[in-house]
């Protein structure tokens, strides 16, 4: 997000709220997530129409429709490639991507490392409820081993995905975790992620009240919550962040796990530089066929 494009005119959280009534189950964690996003966007202050909000498919992926940004509710698992095309086509936009744990780490899991290594300035928020909500309760990649669900009648046989460890392993420069169990903290994390100049990943443990287990509800999450600030974690220490990430699923560490103090240049900034260099003295596109003239 280029700072220069930020207007002086202030926006309120409600300016980012659309008229569409959420159809989430009463009590779903995603209600808090969208509130946090309204607030984070307001405090950043970019106009809604300069924001593109991309998602896949899932309960969580309905979120762009509840904002006044340009929204794109794409197909299951494909928010990230589409978000990258948007960012490259217009780097001045504030680009958010969001979706569920299944959307991001099952069907969409192949796209994550490539966005990370391209380091485009896109913020990716996963509403990790450790279940497939929209399709009514199947195993998700983050469901714990042994979890009984309608597709694992006798318990899951797989180790869960560890989103934090994966994304750190991909070399991300900003990795954080939050939860509706701490609305203020979650808002602050989202805001910081958006402000971070480069790719930023936020995992949110957002309870599914309908298909989630007891321990994944707000109360359960609060019981295992451990704010990183409270344990004096230094977010510039990548190896330490990796170690903490191993507790995913046992503890809920909230806050910034890793923030690269010297963020590398973004992909789009390198593209811009290349465009500037190469467009100098280029033949007009109307004459591009001259390239083929045999001399």
């Amino acid at each position: 997000m280029s700072e220069t494009a930020t207007p002086a005119m202030p926006f309120l959280p409600k300016d980012y709220k659309s008229d569409l009534k959420p159809i989430w189950c009463p009590g779903c964690g995603d209600f808090s997530v969208v509130q946090a996003i309204y607030r984070a966007l307001a405090s950043i202050g970019r106009a809604p129409h300069e924001t593109a909000f991309i998602s896949g498919i899932g309960c969580s992926s309905r979120i762009p429709g509840y904002t006044t940004a340009y929204g794109f509710n794409t197909v299951h698992g494909r928010s990230l490639p589409i978000a990258q095309g948007i960012k490259l086509a217009n780097p001045d936009l504030l680009v958010l991507a969001a979706g569920g744990d299944g959307d991001g780490f099952s069907i969409g899991g192949g796209h994550v490392p490539h966005l990370v290594r391209r380091n485009m300035d896109i913020t990716y928020i996963v509403m990790d409820n450790q279940i497939y909500g929209l399709t009514k309760g199947q195993l998700s990649p983050t469901s714990p081993k042994g979890r009984i669900s309608c597709t694992s009648k006798y318990g899951s046989l797989e180790e869960p995905v560890n989103p934090l460890q994966y994304v750190l392993g991909y070399g991300a420069n900003f990795v954080a975790q939050g939860s509706p169990a701490d609305l203020a903290g979650m808002t602050a994390i989202i805001e910081e992620a958006i402000r971070f100049p480069g790719f930023a990943f936020v995992n949110l443990q957002s309870p599914c009240v309908t298909y989630g287990e007891e321990c994944q509800q707000i109360k359960g999450l609060k019981a295992i919550m451990e704010p990183l600030a409270s344990i004096g974690h230094d977010p510039s220490d990548r190896m330490k962040a990796m170690e903490i990430a191993q507790y995913y699923g046992q503890k809920l560490h909230t806050g910034v796990l890793y923030r690269n103090p010297n963020p590398p240049p973004t992909y789009e900034s390198m593209v811009k530089q290349r465009q500037e260099e190469l467009s100098k003295g280029a033949m007009p596109k109307e004459q591009i066929l001259d390239l083929f003239i045999k001399r």
Binding site: E50, N73, G85, I86, N90, V271, L289
Partner: protein, 596 residues
Amino acid sequence: MRKDLVFGMAGSGGDGIVSAGESLLNAAAAEGYHGMMTKSFGSQIRGGESSCRVRISTEHLLNPGGDLDVAVALNWEDFLKFGAELPVSGSTVVIYEAATKVEPDRIPLMGVTPLQVIPVPISEMAKATAGTERAKNTVVLGLIAGWFGIGREAVLKGFRKKLAKKGEDVLAANERAFYEGIKFAEAHPLNTPMTIALSDGAVSGKLMTDGNDMCAAAAIFSGCQFFSGYPITPSTEIMQFFTEHVWKYGGAVLQAEDEIAGIGAAIGASFAGKKSMTATSGPGLSLKTEMMGLASIAELPLVIVDVQRGGPSTGMPTKPEQSDLFAAAFSGHGDVVRPILAPTCVADTFRVTVEAFNLAEEFQTPVLILSDQEISQRKETLDPIDTSQFKIVDRIRPSEADLQNYNRFKITESGISPISHPGMLGGTYLASGIEHNENGSPTASGEVHQRMNEKRIRKFDPLQNRRDLFHTVGNPDAPLALVAWGSIAGVCQEAVTIAREEGLNVKMLVPYLVYPVAEGVYREFFASVQRGLVVEQSHLGQFYRVLRMYVDLPKGVESMARSGANPFRPSEIVVVLHRLLAELQRSQAGNLQPQE
């Protein structure tokens, strides 16, 4: 004096046969001829068999030709691997490496007696003159110059340019090898001389390129500022062109992690308001299936190139085929119409690509370009194209009034709704693959679904009247007819020319718009037709079947279809046309209706 010569040469990978072909083509072009070159390789990356076909003519060329006039075999094993791709007939002069120790009357071409068979000690000559076998291809160029009169000057000129960096010694060695070839030819004149007429073509301003580069250049000309895709033979060169040039025009290119991401990023760029493109070949097209549906329901402009190769699955990556038509038209769940355009040669790839962007923008839809391995990788000389003749279309943006209460998917009379993009104040909306209301919000209403399907399909109605996207040849009243699309259309066009020269009253229709089927155009075309052929390179006769879906073909119209990598030759088609005429005459004599 002939108007036209077809050379076919084969050897093993290190023999430089393709580079000889390129030199020959360049030389011919420099001398004002029209030329066309196709290459073909085995599956090896290096060291396998390789071949090329160069056709040179005093007139504009439509296809790489049928039977060879001149066959050059640096060894027989490799030559034979190309089978029907390098057909030798009774009128072919066969030149081959004497070191193969094959007797001229024993060359391994069962059942064929060529016009003349000439063993030449090519490698010996190369070693003797240039000190290395690697000059074999130069000797071949000398033989061709000597026997067929092409490139005597221009080949040498080409060497000078090409070998400048390698120093005088290398250049001199090559010159010696080249003259050695000429000398041999002069010492062994052909039984029947085979020289080509002097070209009357303009020497300067001609273009030379292949279908992939042409497609990419046309895209940039059309204002395309974003390309993303994943490498796949034989389409990769489109992306490669973009990575070299698109930055100059403020654009960007992304080599995606797979084909799904490739089309995904292109859809994203289109949503963000830019013209965008992706390109692939069969397997990649299959992977893009879900995303193509998304672009259709979200009504986003997008151009998708599929350079067809042999299928199904990985199939035959280096061979052309026309078997992706079903996939292009019908892949993907749900009710969707996706326009498909197809070039027939390198030259019209420009026009077709520009049109594809125009249709995509006008109708807010993905548009498919179906090219094929042959067009995409064959080199052609072409006359200059006046780009100022081409109209460029941009998507219709919402007016101030539209933005007052913006409905992105407004059901309009045309079915086309003004489209905003991020950054446009007042235009925010939710794009989605979920069925939606006019304002973009999700719906589960069957009635809305029906109205939206209707809108999304009705908007293509104007395509039914795009007669400019069809090309016809011959007498409009002819009772005999051919229909063909894509690269095989050039072969058919030659067949029509021959047939007409032989007195047949035959006409031909070439659709650049392959789908949706413009029913009226075919109805008119077939009105006079009693016998006909739909010619294509797909085992199932896919185009014939697609036509039947929408058009009541006259009973006498047949499918002439064969798998790829076995291209029909003009002569084969002419034979069938004669058969059809005979049947027609018989049936008219007996006053019979054509049989079912």
